[in-house]
């Protein structure tokens, strides 16, 4: 009975014909779609930026965002360390690193929301007010949404950790989450440069 | 590509090409070549072009049509021949020839099409350069598309019209833009088309080669009235064109000195603002069928909408066309006449229309 109802086919193996893990192959393909999504958004942003007045990004708070970039890099480090931890079978450490990821990610998102509220309520930069604003809010909000989804994913990974689902032999879900999270970090590294610094 | 031995299951040697299929190949090829040449020369799909650019495009079209017809006949010919020749006899359960490929053939039918399309590209490029080439003595026209009418402005003469006039044999350089959404300026008989896009100027040119009147069509979906966004281009002889220019300048001056002859002025406004494109009005020679007829407006305007005087009704119909829609018609009339027309012009138009009994 349980065999019939199980969602896993009888001889399914995560390691497939090419010797790679399905889930890892899947997440990398997903990241390829994300590359294209952000490229389209960045193309739109650059177009808008080149049409608006130069120096439109001077209203942005660079020290605060540089701090925020540091926060996100820290969260990435935590995820990398969490993978190293589970490789050695240290489940508790894995959990702690993931909790720290949650903390750093949450801080990043809070600062971003704070930045939004400040910019919109002061009227310095709005999505409808200028071309730069349109591009800025579209790109950064999609990134923010990705961070938010990452936080949910991280929470799930913590729950799975506490349920004892991971071991040095089987921690693909941690790796897959990590790949997603690092990618979100990379996007921010690029965005910080082309939106805030250039 | 692995070459399997071409043996049938019973061991007899089979060949992909016997003498009758060789004959068929030659026959299909010959028919394809003849059909291609005939179609290319006759080009039955396009009537004569009315512009020098159109003539060049038609030549290119004929060449492509010839090539396309030949390829078409070739493929359909082989398809039909195979269907007839290789259909299974009712009880035959055996398999066909186990041929997996033929490297020579495959190289050939990759290379030949590639050469053909590259050739077409080069030829197309040369035509493209020719049709885009500006002429020294061209006349300039600024074209503005708006929902749902065309406006033509001649910067050299400072006149604005709703109908395009160009002199025979002289290139007209059109600079297009849009006051609202995207439009596309197209004169089918002249084969030329260009989008009119807000915030930027696009350019195209037409050189009339035959006297006559040709429709201008909007080819980019621009809203409810897209289908009826039309005007026309008139190719005049040189003297006729000059006369027309003078009459337009004269009409403009008369308009500036206001209603010396209110009827003539009204008539002029009807044509200047493009009312004639959609409405019928015998007095002004307008035959549009998209909007309600304006004939006899003066005698029925008073009863059209309860509570509105005849004058209020006509004025509203011009400046707020969406407020009341005549039954069986669509709300497609441009709503920006209150901005495009001066108060004076609206007054004159109302007066003129009320005079149509």
């Amino acid at each position: 009975m349980s065999e019939v109802n199980s969602a896993v086919p009888v001889h399914e193996q995560p390691i497939g014909t090419t010797g790679l893990d399905n889930r890892k192959l899947g997440i990398w393909l997903f990241l390829a779609t994300e590359v294209m999504l952000f490229s389209a958004l960045i193309a739109g942003f650059l177009d808008m930026r080149s049409r608006g007045p130069s120096g439109a990004n001077h209203v942005l708070n660079i020290p605060l965002t540089a701090f925020n970039t540091w926060v996100l890099i820290c969260s990435s480090l935590m995820v990398a360390l969490s993978v190293a931890a589970i490789e050695q079978g240290k489940t508790k450490r894995l959990r702690n690193y993931l909790l720290l990821t949650l903390l750093f990610g949450g801080t990043f998102l809070s600062i971003q929301i704070f930045e939004y509220i400040h910019l919109i309520s002061s009227g310095e930069l709005t999505p409808w007010g200028s071309l730069f604003g349109a591009g800025f809010y579209t790109v950064t909000s999609v990134h923010g949404l990705h961070v938010f989804i990452g936080l949910i994913w991280c929470t799930l990974t913590i729950i799975w950790t506490m349920q004892g689902k991971f071991s040095p032999k089987e921690f693909m879900r941690v790796e897959v989450f990590g790949l997603y999270w690092h990618f979100v970090d990379i996007v921010w590294i690029i965005l910080f440069t082309i939106i805030y610094l250039l | 590509m692995s070459h399997q031995a071409s043996h049938n299951s019973d061991g007899t040697q089979v060949r992909a090409f016997d003498s009758s299929s060789k004959l068929a190949v030659i026959l299909i090829g010959a028919i394809a070549a003849i059909a291609g040449i005939v179609m290319g020369v006759a080009n039955p799909f396009l009537s004569n072009a009315a512009s020098s650019q159109g003539i060049m495009i038609d030549t290119l079209f004929s060449v492509l049509l010839g090539i396309a017809t030949a390829v078409f006949v070739l493929v359909q010919g082989f398809l039909l021949y195979s269907i007839v020749r290789f259909s299974r006899t009712p009880d035959d359960e055996s398999d066909g020839m186990p041929i997996r490929g033929n490297t020579k053939l495959e190289v050939l039918w990759t290379a030949i099409p590639a050469i053909i399309v590259v050739g077409i590209s080069i030829y197309s490029y040369r035509i493209l350069v020719d049709i885009d080439r500006p002429q020294a003595d061209h006349i300039k026209v600024d074209v503005t598309g708006r929902q749902f009418s065309w406006e033509f402005y001649y910067p050299d003469y400072d006149i604005k019209t709703s109908e395009l006039h160009i002199p025979l044999g002289r290139q007209a350089r059109l600079r297009l833009t849009s006051a609202d959404v995207n439009h596309a300026f197209w004169v089918p008989q002249m084969r030329m088309k260009k989008d009119a896009i807000g915030g930027k100027i696009t350019e195209t040119s037409i050189t009339g080669t035959e006297l006559g009147t040709y429709p201008i069509v909007c080819a980019e979906l621009c809203g409810a009235g897209h289908a009826v966004m039309r005007s026309q281009v008139v190719v005049d002889s040189g003297p006729d064109f000059q006369n027309w220019i003078q009459s337009q300048i004269g009409a403009k001056q008369r308009g500036a000195s206001a209603a010396a002859d209110p009827v003539a002025y009204g008539r002029q406004l009807v044509n200047q603002f493009g009312c004639n494109a959609c409405h019928k009005l015998a007095d002004a020679g307008a035959v549009g069928a998209v909007g309600p007829s304006l004939d006899g407006m003066g005698s029925r305007a008073g009863a059209a909408v309860p509570g509105q005087s005849a004058e209020e009704y006509v004025r509203n119909a011009i400046v707020k066309p969406g407020a009341y829609i005549v039954p069986n018609f669509q709300p497609v009339m441009p709503s920006d006449y209150s901005q495009r027309m001066t108060d004076q012009e609206v007054d004159a138009m109302v007066k003129y229309l009320l005079g149509q009994k």
Partner: protein
């Protein structure tokens, strides 16, 4: 791409060649240092500013990809999947910048 490199497959099955925590921390330090450098470069004006900034952020992105995401240690397939789209990104961004 017709057959699977056995070494490649071996790597994928036993992903225990990942870097140690020490490497991660070194990468982290480099990332932070580059960020600080970027902010400093952003303050100065000059023709070199844009290429410098873009170069530094590209290096940062590469560091994360190669070490945090293990692309340096993992199957080449993943690198191919991730970097191949970049070839398409170039015309896309370039086209939208032309007037």
């Amino acid at each position: 791409m017709n057959h699977v490199d056995p070494v490649e497959a071996e790597k994928a099955v036993k992903p225990h060649r990942y870097p140690t925590s020490r490497t991660y921390i070194l990468v982290f330090v480099a990332l932070v240092a580059l960020t600080i450098l970027e902010v400093i470069v952003a303050l100065i004006e000059g023709g070199l500013k844009a290429p410098l900034l873009l170069g530094m952020s590209a290096i940062k992105a590469l560091l994360v990809i190669l070490f945090f995401m293990h692309l340096k240690y993992d199957s080449r397939w993943f690198a191919f999947i991730f970097f191949a789209p970049m070839a398409l990104v170039i015309p896309l961004i370039w086209i939208s910048l032309i007037r």
